[in-house]
Amino acid sequence: MKSALKNLKSFAGGLHPPDGKHFSAGKAIEICPLPEELVIPLAQHIGAPAEACVEVGALVKKGSPIAKAKGFVSVPIHASTSGEVIAVEPRLHPMGKHLPAVVIKPDGKDLWDDSLTGADPQDLNAAELKNRLQAAGIVGLGGATFPTHVKLSPPADKPIDTLILNGVECEPFLTADHRLMLEETERIFDGIDILRKILGITRAVIGIEANKPDAIELLTARGAARQIEVQALEVKYPQGAEKQLIDAITGRQVPSGTLPMEVGVVVQNVGTCAAISDAIRRGHPLVERVVSITGPALVEPKNLLVRIGTSLQFLVDQCGGLNGAAAKIIMGGPMMGQTQLSLDVPAIRGTSGVLIFRQQDLPRYEAGPCIRCGRCISVCPIHLQPTSIAACARLDMIDQAAGYHALDCIECGCCTYICPATLPLVQSIRYAKAAIMAQKRTT
């Protein structure tokens, strides 16, 4: 399989943070036991939050809907296990505020809802498949949590010819997708077939970074008979970002301000594929996912199959607890993840990883003046000028920030990672983007 690893593709820009994968890469996925309480927020995806459709005291089964989708760009939320609804109230959400959630006390029996039925994808047409995906609450599991059925519904004037599967997992420390590709290959491939049927295309390419040679080898071998290609990619962050992935695999650049459908591509995370397979074949909604609980602060980092709504505290306990006081709790990877107020937050559909840093793992931070070294410009995968946008943001020069294409920033964090002055570039650019959007709304 050396040939697959020799023909590495890539994109311009980016950088190589230390991998950090060794903490949990070799660990097979373990099933996380049920906690005492599951707190399931109603806002777990892009689009309108779901609306609760159960009341306190209701008995639910695993997979029963507990909240309805609101509109087209929305999905329903389901109970992650059988039990009793003990509260429908605001609870601390990973976004840092108290948002509506349904709290379930598991009854320990873990019974699936009988009304859920699987089907053979051959018997269903594209529209029926998409409806089932929405009903199953399938959203992008790479972290963006965009409702999948919407992504699979491009308008007629945007024909799709390529399906790209994101097995890159370029964020340091995270290994959930890697393990999934090794252990659940069949489910992933099944999901790919279903996606190809919905889109009505034949070409599917899985992008995998070269630091996962075992996954590349396995998927290339198995994929050959199923007309699923595997493209090995140079190890560089942010190869897993949608735009960079499309550029590396197809050579096409998604025009500024548009979506991948503009260049005839749909991208899906490999975890989403596995969830799609379950949703159609077995009728199972999205109630659990693989999460990497990792980082130098954990006694025993692991890749766990976690029920949606399990608190981070419970997950950390499953990993043997911490070997030092936590200084930062990050949901996601270290480059784009969100810091948390406490471990009493639930894992949600978009939680790909939980990272704990102690004081000694934190980088030095003393923002000094910009020395115009230009490193941020050379690493930006979108080829922006982060220091210029940040300077405009600091001076509230919003029009100039828009002139520097601030809205094109994918907030990958490369610029801030490399900045010798430790300037909070991504934060400043986010400020500029919010100000530009606010300005657009008022004019």
Binding site: M95, G96, K97, T339, L341, Y365, R394, P424, Q427, S428, R430, Y431, A434
Partner: protein
């Protein structure tokens, strides 16, 4: 040498004549009142009136498209002068100054988390609704200081914004910047204010702030017309400002401040100029 004197002198003379002719011939017709109004305005270009600069506002006053009493930094003296120039009645609005309704600096109020990042209140507010536990409290990172064109705000060493009542002109730029809406406009002549912005119940407030309003109603009981309690937060009714001042000391958490006794702890502003002197100093 003679030739060079003649040449240069001649060029100078020619240029002077040419400039004089051009000044007369290409003169822009400005209503002389516009220049007088511009002179009466403070010239800070702060934008409080709604125009980006004083020149624009002067023009708008003279051509009648804007009212002459919108300049809060200029105060009653500017409004009177402008009214005189335009030949209309002076209708000054009651002068207002901004007040930061919070005394919970880092030593008196708790933090939800330790914030790392841009030293800006709006940026910090985006991260889990800001580092201060109190949802309405001042974050003390200085967005208001940067917005103020009159250098009237400071951040104390313990992280609290304080507005100088003598320097504040009421332009409201700080109010627009504050993500927690903790800055409120108050009549300049009223010196007693409830410096709290939290609408949480008293028991909750006690947990995160030593000087927050717990809605115990003591102020209202002692001066019923001067205080209103709404949403677990007391507010001074400024039409009875004198009565409010009398009971300020009775507040158990000391969240009511009479500014004639001084600014909040840690402020370098001392004591505001007493009202009777202020009229003369201007």
């Amino acid at each position: 040498m003679f030739a060079s004197i003649l040449t240069l002198g001649g060029i100078g003379l020619f240029a002077a004549v040419a400039l004089g002719v051009a000044a007369k011939k290409f003169a822009v017709e400005i209503d002389p009142r516009e220049l007088a109004v511009l002179d009466a305005l403070p010239g800070a270009n702060c934008g409080a009136c709604g125009m980006p600069g004083c020149a624009g506002y002067a023009k708008a006053i003279v051509d009648g498209s804007m009212a002459p009493n919108l300049c809060t930094p200029g105060g009653s003296e500017a409004i009177e002068k402008i009214a005189q120039i335009m030949g209309v009645e002076a209708q000054s609005a009651e002068p207002q100054v901004a007040v930061v309704c919070c005394q919970g600096d880092n030593q008196k109020a708790t933090l939800k988390y330790r914030y790392l990042g841009l030293y800006d209140c709006n940026a910090a507010q985006k991260i889990a609704d800001g580092p201060k536990t109190c949802p309405g409290g001042c974050l003390g990172l200085g967005s208001c200081v940067r917005a103020c064109p009159f250098d009237a705000i400071e951040i104390t060493a313990a992280g609290l914004a304080v507005i100088n009542r003598d320097k504040c002109t009421g332009c409201q730029k700080c109010v627009a910047q504050c993500p927690r809406s903790v800055i409120h406009m108050t009549p300049r002549l009223a010196e007693t204010h409830v410096l709290c912005n939290s609408t949480d119940k008293g028991a909750q407030v006690r947990k995160y702030c030593q000087v927050g309003c717990i809605a115990c109603q003591i102020c209202k009981k002692n001066a019923p017309e001067a205080y209103q309690i709404e949403n677990f937060l007391a507010r001074v009714d400024y039409s009875h400002a004198a009565a409010a001042a009398a009971v300020a000391e009775k507040c158990p958490t000391k969240c009511i401040r009479d500014f004639s006794h001084g600014y909040p702890d840690g402020s370098s502003y001392g004591v505001p100029t007493p009202e009777k002197l202020r009229g003369e100093a201007v």
